[in-house]
């Protein structure tokens, strides 16, 4: 991985007719990086990806890849790969021919095509499936074919649209490892789109969180998970107790509350994960509305003067019954400090 920008999106605005899907987006990606575009549906992540492939023309802005402005280069000459969410294999062609498709268009010598297709299929563990048709493969196998089909083209950037969302839980884990291995072995720059924070956290070198066509935060998985910068990102990565702060006081539904030690906090908001709430003692009191056993832990919903609070305790800790009163605290030193609400 070098420090130089390899793929650069600059002031990119994307629109469908008059609806702006992505608004002046700026993003720099280094060679060999594995980037996740994370966000709920409609946030513009898939649109951004389509713009990188060239399937969508930007309304304004530029896309630079490997030193060349590709903003107006048509999709079939961009050297960008895309693994579709639906895999989009060619139903009338065998696995071998699917993978060979792009190479044949390049009019490479047959021997080289054969060798590259074999290598591609070997990389995804499908060497024995040459002559099958896509319909005869499982979803996971189809995805591997789609991956091999893109990889044999040796794209400068490989894009993946929701690569794990159509797989069942066990396959998802397997494919995740597989994608990391393929990325390590091929060294290809990868950008994948996902709505699943766990997927992004587990796979990416850097995560780009998007909301309504705008980037909310760019950071390492640790950054995004532990130090969300905005209310939206905090909420998205599981900080379920989020409060605005004004003049060192947290603002609740029932007025303002002094937060000891937080007086110095000069940020517009604070956020706590349920497991950051200390339960059993503290300055506040709430009534247990609901409790649920979640395997290793127990989740509580409290009604308090601060509004509803979600808390999580180790399963071995004392149990609080619904209806009982319980003391709790929101330790300011543990809170994530939000820069934007």
């Amino acid at each position: 991985m070098s420090d130089e920008t390899y793929l650069d999106l600059s002031d990119l605005t994307l629109a469908y007719g008059k609806t702006v899907a992505v608004d002046r987006l700026n993003l720099s990606i280094r060679k060999g990086e594995l980037i996740a575009l994370l966000g709920p549906s409609g946030c513009g992540k898939t649109t951004t990806m389509r713009a990188i492939t060239g399937l969508l023309r930007p309304a304004s802005g530029t896309i630079t890849l490997d030193g060349a402005d590709i903003t107006h280069v048509p999709a079939n000459r961009r050297h960008v790969g895309l693994v579709f969410q639906s895999y989009a294999l060619f139903p009338h062609l065998t696995v071998f021919e699917n993978v060979a498709f792009g190479l044949r268009l390049k009019k490479l010598p047959t021997a080289e095509i054969n060798q590259r297709v074999e290598a591609g299929l070997a990389m995804v563990g499908l060497s024995k499936f040459h002559s099958r048709k896509p319909a005869e493969l499982s979803g996971g196998q189809q995805q591997r074919v789609a991956l091999a089909r893109s990889l044999v083209m040796q794209p400068k950037v490989l894009l993946l649209d929701e690569p794990l969302s159509n797989l069942d839980a066990r396959l998802r884990l397997e494919m995740r490892t597989e994608l990391q291995r393929v990325q390590r072995e091929s060294g290809v720059t990868m950008v994948f789109v996902t709505h699943d924070q766990n997927e992004a956290l587990a796979l990416a070198d850097r995560i780009v969180v998007m909301k309504e066509g705008v980037i909310e935060q760019i950071g390492s998985p640790e950054d995004v998970y532990n130090r969300p910068q905005s209310r939206f990102v905090a909420d998205f990565v599981g900080f379920e107790n989020i409060f605005p702060v004004e003049n060192g006081q947290i603002v609740t539904e029932n007025g303002r509350l002094e937060l000891s030690g937080a007086a110095s906090v000069n940020a517009p908001g604070l956020a706590w994960r349920p497991n950051m709430v200390s339960l059993g003692n503290g300055r506040f009191e709430g009534e247990v509305l609901g409790a649920a056993f979640a395997g290793g832990s127990r989740e509580y919903l409290l009604m308090s003067p601060l509004g509803p609070i979600k808390a999580e305790m180790d399963a071995a800790a004392p149990v609080f019954e619904p209806g009982s009163k319980v003391a709790f605290d929101l330790p300011p030193e543990r809170a994530a400090v939000l820069e934007r609400m």
Binding site: T53, G54, L55, A75, N76, R77, R78, V80, G81, L82, F84, S86, A88, L89, F90, P91, H92, F101, G102, L105, K106, A146, R149, S150, M153
Partner: protein, 259 residues
């Protein structure tokens, strides 16, 4: 119970109504008598054999075959791009285009035939054969568009994008990816077009000239002069031809999915 009985009776009557004429024609074709009659007088294959000896039948059969094959091919060449454009792009006036394309189904054939005769053949001195070809092509076009559209709608459009990203041009994608995947739809459209053209009467009725007659028109003309059972024999042969084509198409293509 009575309602059930009633439905059986209805069903039987419908079947008799649908199949009855066919039975009558086949029986009349195998008649040993000298005139077209039912019930047949005796049993004989002589009228079936005679069909192949009538010179005008041979000529009109050749013309009908030519129109059915090349008219359908022309309709496909025109219709496949229309179907593709309609299914993949949001066209301005898309609905209007669709309506115009299906107009030949809706407008009575007799009007189409008369219009072509009055405004193409007579003033422009276009040959009847050419007019017939145009008429049949136009008539088959709606079927071609509709059947091909159905199979295009079942084909995911993202595989075309996948091909483009792999380096294919849009045109090459159409030939390498789209066309192979809608083959059976095109074949179904061809068969439907062929049968429609071959059995077409009202349009062809106006577009006949000396020595230029499609087979059904020739049969009408023959019957007016010679009232013998060979017309019935020919009708029976044609019915068998149509049935076997559709039967084979259903067997190998699942024809009814497209129609």
């Amino acid at each position: 119970m009575t309602s059930r009985l009633l439905s059986y009776v209805t069903l039987t009557l419908v079947l008799i109504f649908l199949l009855g004429p066919f039975v009558i024609i086949v029986a009349a074709a195998l008649s040993g008598g000298e005139t077209l009659a039912f019930p047949p007088q005796g049993l004989s294959f002589k009228w079936v054999m005679k069909v192949f000896e009538v010179e005008s039948f041979r000529a009109s059969f050749a013309l009908s075959m030519f129109l059915a094959i090349f008219g359908t091919l022309a309709a496909l060449v025109l219709g496949v791009p229309v179907a593709y454009a309609a299914s993949r792009y949001r066209l301005p006036f898309g609905e209007t285009i669709r309506t115009i394309v299906s107009a030949p189904i809706i407008v009575p054939g007799i009007i189409v035939g008369l219009a072509l005769l009055r405004y193409l053949v007579i003033p422009l001195d276009v040959g009847v054969g050419v007019a017939l070809f145009i008429a049949h092509t136009a008539l088959i076009l709606p079927y071609a568009v509709r059947v091909v559209s159905a199979s295009l709608d079942n084909l995911r459009s993202d595989i075309e994008e996948a091909a483009v990203i792999l380096g294919s041009t849009r045109v090459a994608t159409f030939f390498r990816i789209v066309l192979p995947n809608i083959q059976s739809g095109i074949l179904a459209a061809f068969i439907l077009g062929f049968v429609t053209s071959f059995n077409q009467v009202p349009v062809s009725l106006f577009l006949s000239g000396p020595g230029v007659r499609t087979l059904p028109i020739d049969m009408i003309w023959y019957m007016e002069i010679t009232y013998d059972p060979s017309v019935a024999a020919l009708a029976a042969l044609l019915a068998f031809l149509s049935i076997s084509i559709v039967f084979l198409a259903e067997r190998f293509l699942g024809f009814s999915r497209y129609v």
